[in-house]
Symmetry: C3
Subunit: 381 residues, 3 copies
């Protein structure tokens, strides 16, 4: 920890610095070199080209890269973007990944493989580059789309999706749904009937394209609940494909209540700017967990404010860590580093204000950073 | 005030420490001893059993109990939950209530008696245990349900509810509605016709159960407005029976505008996480007031952040204090204590930053902690 | 900068103190003297009379006037309201305007003239009183209402509105819409057909009153997009005429996407309490910009918290400064002063925490305070 954090009690600072985090929702690091344009386009969630009158380095995330990743690559903090990118190009993607993933201090990755996986390291590549174990989280919509691509009749879609899911997830630690992107979270929460599924599958298989039909999305989710692995939901902040107001986690209340008898853990990812809504749900329903991943990286210097808002009504056993990094290993490193620094500031302040003891702060840091995920996903350790 | 608050100007700290608060919305303290399970279930709003892999002591509220209530019972701060509960059991509920209610420094309780009142001290019991006066706030829905239980025809329901309300509220200081729980706040704001009320009453009296029909809820509210006592609304944070997104106070705009000619004060309770929405309404409409009770207790060390968000656009004459404590007297004590500490931090920071004078800070603390409620409810003093 | 800000790095403090801001959305200062009642009614957005049991001086905005404007008029900070108003009356509106507008240090005003302009200084009056250039922003709805008042047939409304808009905006720097007030932002985003416009115009021209029909509002917006000047949207916080929940900027997603091919900058004004929603949109869509004007003035000592929330996911090239002052020149001064002080605190803290360099902080302050607006509106300099 650097000097400005010296008010953080030493015991807490050390635990936060050294804790082997479980990154319970992450994608692979990019396996190839990135041009400036490609790199910059990944410093943000927008899929629009960066206008020529601006650079995404002028953002909290861009500043965090120059502040915190430059030293990992052997440069001074706050170096110019050009210097950073030149250095990165010189050492190459492989070495950059090794340095940045190693510096993250993550002890276990749960890698979601459902989005443009061919450009990224898979779980085994992540394990090799980082030296930490990596397991897989399978995206429901990708399994269905692969089934459609391989050829499937409408009437058999329901059955064959279940078969494909069981087969695909033999070693998986969890499932993920991007219902928020595909149809918004304001869908009818009840499981659809077999007839409804067949009819919707018929329309989709004929039209092609991404799976967006709410009936099919619901079918995937309910089949996922039967599969029984912890189920992750994309919530809130993401690329412009999302209608943010329809990704409010409060919209999931009906599904959460219907799913309660299954006992399947439901993990609300990212949640920004609805982190308080997610905390409320985690407080109300035993099966609900949440994190503030992705946004934590993107808000940079505001990370401690965001983490503080996640530490309100939810019991501490219901909060997890994730980076949701995708692509540049800078994002994997910053997710972990900003979590460590932000938690040190927030918990350190609780201690300084004599609201918490140091022992309580250490306990909560360990729960959120690793123990809760180990329990939910059965990771041992 | 403890040492970490020494930056708070002494004059402000003393006022906040000693101010006899008006807790304008509170329930009774539990009159009987509580098992660990029972106690822990009341450390949170969820009505679900606590899973065996967690304890609700691992929460902001749980930590606040160990930090701030343990010393009131003669224990060290941050003692283990087991030690705290053993001590509480040893001295008994009666003594725990006396110590904790006394330590709260509340000068006047307005006790809402409409929810499981048989397990709790009533207004006179609260007055006796605390040494402070206690008056009653009557829940509209409970009066209607008692009427139904006593027997009432559909056609006479409208008239008899009004009679029962007038009779029940002879000494009451205010009314309360839980419309947010029963049908959500997105109801048609206009008063229903007598025919609509009779028809809805007919359906409800035949089916039984809790009063949930929006027509009847509206009838209760409009009858309450005729009664003319200050009318409290549950808003936001509560148990899982609530659909949080339908408890946003902005949904009350139509009713607030229709009710303006009555001049009845409308008090938005709790409001988390919609406290800024409530502040906006309090700024816009002379009759609207609000507090951040309940949530303030549950967010523990984050209390000052929550209070700070309540001090934005609303005039200071429109903000009140409440604990919304229900059950363990720890909640009554913590509501008051976290308000005092949180306000000291927030207002002390305004002074330190040279944005406010000490005199202004003292004035605002006194208004919000006591004077505004005394004026709205006509408490004198 | 005063002493409490001494932790702010000197280089950053000086830049923030001296920066000639571009106030990209402001109204004129009141040209005449104001009674206590008139002055106090302008310390807030509510159009309701101030109840006799309160004063709007007891608010963040009222406190900020006494703290920061009193010294500009030669009084001690925190003087009583009576003393402040007496002094203001003695020197007269003309001198008060000169002192307060001069003290704001604004380098360029973009004056929106569409609301009760007859009571206010126009752009030339603002330039004269402040010594800084002032250009005009034209409100679409006002142009349409003037056309209706002058007489216009339903069938020719579409064409004649376009003619009037082009004629009225020859020298204008931007356009403004108050769709949020008139029909809420949940309107169909597509441009209406000529027949729909003629039919809606027929109804409106017969009924009279303000232009509220969503078809006509959409027509104004789409004609404004054709005109091609930067287009400002009222978002969020405002007087009770607004239904706040229908002014959430996330409701504009459809329009933003349909308008992307035009390349017209869309500027979301105020945004409180939806500033994070606005930041998300500014991050996602190249054409979207936003500010936290109006609210910044009204939250007074909480200004730094509000500014901090605006500095999360949006790139720094997408954030602007405005006061949205209307009437008393205190509001013009406070907008600028609270922005300077708030930014010094927030950016100073980022530097102190070693997350940002001083050079980065200076760069971002300059971008948000002036450069971004100069680029968007083509102001040169």
């Amino acid at each position: 920890m650097s000097m400005e954090l010296e008010v953080v009690p030493a015991g807490l600072a050390r635990v936060l610095e050294e804790l082997p985090l479980v990154d319970h929702h992450v994608h692979g690091a990019t396996s190839h070199d990135l041009s400036r344009t490609a790199f910059e386009e990944l410093l943000g969630e927008s899929d629009r080209p960066v206008p020529d009158w601006m650079t995404r380095f002028d953002s909290q995330l861009g500043f965090a890269v120059l502040r915190h990743c430059a030293p990992v690559l052997g440069l001074e903090p706050f170096c110019p973007p050009e210097e950073y990118l030149a250095r990165r190009a010189r050492i190459g993607a492989h070495e950059a990944n090794r340095l940045l993933l190693g510096a993250s201090g993550v002890g276990h990755f749960l890698v979601e493989t459902g989005y443009r996986a061919e450009e990224l390291l898979g779980p085994s590549g992540m394990a090799e580059a980082s030296g930490a174990p990596a397991d897989e989280v399978v995206r429901l919509e990708s399994v269905a789309e692969q089934l459609a691509a391989a050829g499937c009749g409408a009437g058999e879609f329901g059955r064959r999706f279940a078969e494909a899911l069981w087969e695909r997830t033999g070693d998986a630690r969890g499932l993920k749904t991007v219902a928020a992107y595909r149809c918004g979270l304001d869908f009818d929460p009840a499981p659809p009937s077999a007839d409804e599924v067949a009819a919707a599958a018929g329309r989709w298989l004929e039209e092609g394209g991404r799976l967006r039909d709410p009936v099919l999305v619901r079918h995937l989710i309910w089949t996922g609940l039967e599969r029984g692995l912890p189920l992750q939901f994309h919530i809130g902040y993401g690329d412009p494909d999302i209608d943010l107001k329809r990704s409010d986690p409060l919209l999931l209340r009906g599904l959460i209540e219907l799913a309660e008898p299954t006992g399947v853990p439901l993990l609300l990812l990212h949640c920004y700017p609805f982190q308080r809504h997610a905390g409320y749900l985690a407080q109300a329903y035993p099966a609900v967990f949440f994190d503030v991943g992705l946004a934590l990286t993107h808000v940079g210097a505001r990370g401690s404010a965001l983490l503080a808002e996640s530490l309100e009504v939810a019991p501490f056993a219901k909060i997890l860590y994730s980076s949701d990094a995708w692509g540049p290993a800078e994002l994997h490193h910053l997710g972990a580093l900003l979590w460590r620094r932000g938690m040190a500031r927030v918990l350190g302040e609780f201690v300084l204000e004599e609201e918490w003891s140091v022992a309580q702060a250490v306990r909560v840091a360990t729960m959120i950073g690793a123990e809760n995920a180990r329990r939910v996903y059965g990771l041992g350790g």
